[in-house]
């Protein structure tokens, strides 16, 4: 019995065609963002390429289990530096392996997808609303928009800052040694539009993440399916226009697509389209282009 179960892990499972899309998109996400040290990266890339090329490998639990193990090695290799979506990727590839080895693949995959997204978002809300001392009071986005180079274009485009303002703010926000104070500290330039952007970003992201977590974790009868998908796709389209972690966005969209039924053709197409939009966000400096056009 054990031997037969073990062999099943190396054979191709019966996978409905509509669920091959999220599996293939997972492999594409792995190829788009190569990760890990030399002893992990080529193996992950090779496994992702093989499951894209071979329909049999795509449906083989052992392939996905191996990818989960490799991602786990990548996390352990330089712990704690791996980003959170790498952890989510490990859980997701493990979930695919377990679902392919289960009797009711669609239900297993959808249930694990909802659990993973729901708990990840619940943890994110817990950190922002309860555990962090500097998020809800607006400091996180105020300082990030003023100093983080990854958000420079958003701060200029939406917040109304000029390059000179940003340079002055970075000087003004340079840290002083503990206990030291300047007699005449330079003022931080925060146009009203930037303060509004910080407040909207702070509360918008908490409320949106809380809504997604609630809908993912609520019992199916209390969680309207269309609303769940609209919120998840909307979250990804808004957040990853600015947040520089396309890999996280792709993973969430892939996991959302795994919750679609056989008849949800247009919904699945919406997930694929959103996956491509996040790809364009990450590869096209759209905010910089808009800034150039404006000037």
């Amino acid at each position: 019995m054990i031997a037969r179960r073990s062999l099943e892990w190396f054979g191709a499972a019966a996978c409905p065609p509509h669920l091959e899309t999220p599996l293939r998109l997972t492999a594409i996400a792995l190829l788009l963002r190569p990760m890990g040290p030399w002893f992990v990266r080529p193996a992950v890339l090779a496994a992702a390429a093989v499951v894209l090329i071979s329909p049999r490998a795509l449906r083989t639990p052992a392939m996905w289990a191996a990818m989960a193990a490799l991602v786990g090695v990548r996390i352990a290799d330089n712990w704690p530096l791996a980003d959170n979506h790498i952890y989510l990727l490990a859980y997701w590839t493990l979930a695919i392996a377990l679902a392919l080895g289960a009797s009711d693949l669609p239900r297993h995959l959808a249930t694990m997808s909802r659990g993973l997204i729901g708990f990840a978002f619940a943890c994110a809300v817990l950190w922002k609303a309860v555990l962090s001392p500097d998020f809800l009071d607006g400091r996180f986005f105020r300082v990030t928009l003023l100093t983080d180079p990854r958000f420079t274009e958003a701060a200029m485009l939406i917040g109304g800052l000029s390059e000179a303002d940003l340079a002055a703010n970075r000087r003004a926000l340079a840290p002083l040694p503990d206990g030291a104070a300047l007699a005449d500290p330079p003022a931080v330039i925060e146009p009203p539009r930037l303060r509004v952007l910080a407040v909207v970003s702070t509360w918008g992201i908490v409320l949106l993440e809380a809504a997604v977590a609630t809908l993912m974790l609520a019992p199916a009868r209390l969680s309207p399916v269309p609303l769940r998908h609209i919120l998840l796709i909307g979250f990804c389209l808004v957040t990853y226009a600015f947040a520089p972690v396309a890999g996280f966005g792709w993973l969430l969209l892939v996991m959302g697509a795994a919750q679609t039924g056989e008849g949800d053709v247009w919904l699945r197409r919406a997930y694929v389209a959103a996956f491509l939009v996040v790809l364009f966000y990450s590869e096209v400096p759209w905010a910089g282009i808009l800034l150039d056009l404006g000037s």
Binding site: S132, A174, V188
Partner: protein, 137 residues
């Protein structure tokens, strides 16, 4: 059906451990699998490590060399004894490669805090660690 709970439970176990390490041992909320990214300014960009190397005839501050940047980033993200010791050992090995005497390596991990009204930035020490090189006479 039992397998359905494995990945979500794994996520929760790791997240609970991460929250414990962040609150009790200085792990940054952004790292460790607890999904605290973009929730606080206490992350790699606002953390750093000052290095002072001492020997019989020297006491000098040093920048983190490129070869030790990843180890320093790990120690800054989680300023634990084992990561700080490994960083100090790396610094000692590098000094010896350049034939420079080293008896003590002092590491100070700091983070930047911002005033909630004015945003004025100050450095606050998270952890001070002293590594005495073994077999130094």
């Amino acid at each position: 059906m039992r397998t359905v709970v494995v990945p979500p439970v794994l996520l929760l176990v790791v997240a609970v451990c991460q929250i414990g390490l962040a609150k009790a041992a200085g792990l940054t909320a952004w790292k460790g699998g607890g999904f605290g990214m973009f929730s606080t300014l206490d992350h790699g960009a606002y953390r750093g490590i000052d290095v002072v190397i001492e020997a019989a005839d020297r006491s000098e501050a040093q920048h983190i060399p490129p070869s030790l940047e990843e180890m320093a980033a790990r120690a800054a993200a989680y300023p634990s004894d084992w990561l700080l010791r490994r960083l100090a050992e790396g610094i000692v090995a590098r000094e010896r490669r350049y034939d420079r005497a080293v008896a003590v390596v002092k590491l100070t991990v700091w983070r930047t805090e911002f005033d909630h009204q004015t945003l004025a930035a100050t450095e606050r020490t998270l952890r001070a660690f002293v590594y005495r090189v073994p077999n130094q006479h």
